[in-house]
């Protein structure tokens, strides 16, 4: 460690699941940081909010359902999961998610929380 300050990583998800690898690539980073006991927070914005919506089944379109792995977040000590309220509202989506512990934030809170992190990686 270069210094003793806490290094926090935010991963910003802005793409819908299944159409491309972005969500899975972001998840892999979250899990590896979690398994190395590095603090990591997950943010979902824009079409990224679809990754949290319950009742999805990737197998219908022959895609491995990486969203199921979200249920393992607590084993990786990933506790901070934030979703943008405006992005949900714009898509007329209810705040019903396939994992617990998701915090719905308005745009200002979302931006404030995001920028409180030392590093942001965007997928």
């Amino acid at each position: 460690m270069a210094n003793s300050s806490i290094k926090t990583l935010a991963i910003l998800n802005a793409k819908a699941p299944y159409a491309n690898l972005a969500g899975k690539d972001a998840l892999d980073i979250a899990l590896i940081f979690g398994s190395f006991e590095q603090t990591v927070s997950l943010f979902f914005q824009g079409d990224g909010v679809w990754q949290l919506i319950q009742g999805q089944n990737g197998s219908i379109i022959s895609i491995k359902d990486y969203l199921k792995t979200f249920a393992a977040f607590e084993f990786y000590d990933i506790e901070d999961v934030y979703v943008c309220q405006a992005s949900l509202a714009m898509r007329n989506l209810p705040a019903k998610f396939h994992i617990e512990e998701v915090q719905v934030l308005n745009q200002q809170e979302f931006a404030h929380k995001l920028t409180s992190h030392k590093t942001i990686l965007r997928f």
Binding site: L21, I29, T119
Partner: protein, 120 residues
């Protein structure tokens, strides 16, 4: 106390490569300690020896080679992302020799060493 890590997720034919290389070279010239560059997602294509960019277009690889030689800049390749894109370390001639075959654990390492991590 001024260490930088860079993550490249865009391919060599993206203009973001130009921005990334400008940023990195400026940092190196300013004597910022660059602990390493990590290539992930489509960024791994920078390491692919089979990529051919038209000669009148930006040649990202020649700049990576120049910076690697001048500054011993560590260039880490996520092998899982690379193999998905047809770049395997079982065929070493497919990977430019300036790249080190790594995994996501290296990204954690770079992140913990660096004071700042920037993605292009």
């Amino acid at each position: 106390m001024n260490k930088l890590a860079v993550v490249i997720t865009t391919p060599p034919f993206s203009n973001l490569s130009v921005t990334a290389l400008d940023y990195i070279e400026t940092a190196l010239k300013a004597e910022v300690e660059l602990v390493g560059v990590f290539f992930y997602q489509d960024g791994v294509m920078h390491a692919n020896t089979n990529v051919q960019i038209a000669s009148d277009e930006f040649q990202a690889i020649s700049h990576w080679q120049r910076l690697h030689q001048a500054y011993k800049l560590p260039l880490h390749l996520c092998i899982t992302a690379a193999e998905k894109r047809g770049i395997s370390d079982e065929h070493a001639q497919n990977i430019h020799s300036i790249f080190t075959v790594s995994g996501l654990g290296e990204l954690v390492e770079l992140s913990s060493m660096a004071d700042r991590m920037v993605q292009f």
